[in-house]
Assembly symmetry: C2
Homo-oligomer: 186 residues x 2
DNA sequence: ATCATGACTGACCGATCGGCCAGTTTTCAA
DNA sequence: TTGAAAACTGGCCGATCGGTCAGTCATGAT
C-alpha cells in the first residue's frame, strides 16, 4: 500500500533486463536456434533456472528481445493509418529506415526465425505489422510496386545485418538512396 | 577393369541422389539446423545410418545440396573474369538473376546458415564467389555502388525466398527491373 | 555354388537441448 | 528480530541430436 507501487522491484527488473540484453547479443551473433538457455544464463551471470524463473520459456525470451522493435513498428503502422497514400509512403520510407537501423539487431534475429515463423505466436503481430508497412511503402496497389516494396525491404533488412562496423548515419544514407531509386521517389 | 567404369553403380547413385533431393526440400522448407538426419532419412526412404554411409556427416549433405548452384556461380565468376567492366556488369546482372531464380532453393538454405557460415568450409568457395560476383555487379569501385550492389543482392535473394507460387519468368522480370533501377542501368 | 564386396540397418553412444522442481538464500515489511 | 514472500539455484528428467559400429542382406564375378 505504498505510493510507489509503480517502482518495480529493483532486483527483479535488473536481472530481467540483463537476461534480455545478453540474449539479444547472442541471438544476433549466433541465431536464435543456436543459442541455448545455458548460453544466455552464463552471459547474464545467473543460472539457467533463473532465466526460466523470469520467462516462461525460450520463446518468451525471444518475445522480450523483439518487444521494443515490435512496439515501434506497431506505432508506425498506427501513425500511417490516417495519412494519405503519398504521405504514408513518405513516412514509411523515412521511418522504416530508421527502425531497421536502430533495431538492426532484431533484423538478424528475425532472419534466423523465418523458416518457422508461422508457428511462433510470439512474433505474429510484428510480422503482420511488417506486411502492413510493406503496403504503405509501395504507395500503390500496382502489383509491380508492391513487389518492389518487398524487394526494398529485403535489401534494407539484409543491409542492416552484420553491419556492426558501419555508423548509423552511413547506413541511413545508403538505405535512403536505395529505397528512392527502387521506388522511383527521387 | 571394365570399359564402363564411368557408369556409377546404379544403386549407390540412386540412393545418393534421393537423399540429396529430399534434403534440399527439407532444408528449404525448415532450414538446415532444424532438419535432422532422421528427417532426411525418413523422407528418402532409408535409415539414418544409410545417410551417414553415403555422406561423411551432415555438413557433407549440405555441400552436396549446394554443389550444383556453387558450380554455376563458379562458372559465372570465371566467365566474367576476362570481360570489360561494363560487359562484366551486364553479364552479372543477367546471370545473377538467372542463377538466383533457378537455384532459389539454395538461397533459402544459405540464409539459414549465414550466422555460422564462417565455420563451414563446405560452403566457403560459394560465399567467396558470391562476393566476387557482387563486385562485378557494382560495375565500379565507388563504395556507394558497391553497397548498392550488395543491397541489390539482398533484395534479389530475399525475393526468391518462399516464391514457390511465382513463375520463373515473373520472378526474372521483377528482379530485372529492380536491379536496373538500383544500379541505374535502364 | 561360392564368396568377396558393396549397400544397408538396428542398436547404441555421449552430448546437449528445453524444461521442471525441491530446496536454499536474500530481501524486506511488520 | 522475525518470518513469509521473492529471488535464485543445483540437479535431474525425457527427448533428440549427430555420429559409430557390428552385423545382415543383396549383388555379381568367378
Amino acid at each position: 500500500m505504498m505510493a510507489d507501487m509503480a517502482v518495480t522491484t529493483p532486483a527483479r527488473e535488473r536481472t530481467r533486463r540483463e537476461i534480455v540484453r545478453q540474449a539479444m547479443d547472442l541471438f544476433q551473433a549466433g541465431g536464435y536456434n543456436a543459442t541455448s538457455l545455458q548460453d544466455i544464463a552464463t552471459a547474464a551471470g545467473c543460472s539457467k533456472a533463473t532465466v526460466l524463473y523470469h520467462f516462461s520459456g525460450k520463446p518468451a525470451v525471444l518475445a522480450a528481445v523483439l518487444e521494443p522493435a515490435a512496439a515501434d513498428v506497431a506505432a508506425l503502422v498506427k501513425a500511417a493509418a490516417g495519412l494519405s497514400r503519398a504521405d504514408a509512403q513518405e513516412l514509411a520510407i523515412q521511418s522504416f529506415i530508421d527502425l531497421a537501423v536502430v533495431h538492426r539487431g532484431v533484423v538478424d534475429v528475425l532472419q534466423d526465425i523465418l523458416p518457422v515463423i508461422e508457428q511462433m505466436p510470439e512474433v505474429a503481430q510484428l510480422v503482420s505489422d511488417g506486411m502492413q508497412l510493406s503496403g504503405y511503402l509501395a504507395g500503390s496497389d500496382d502489383p509491380l510496386e508492391q513487389d518492389l516494396a518487398k524487394f526494398a525491404i529485403n535489401g534494407l533488412l539484409g543491409e542492416c545485418r552484420h553491419s556492426g562496423e558501419r555508423t548509423d548515419d552511413d547506413l541511413r544514407r545508403l538505405c535512403d538512396i536505395a529505397l528512392r531509386r527502387l521506388l522511383r521517389r527521387a
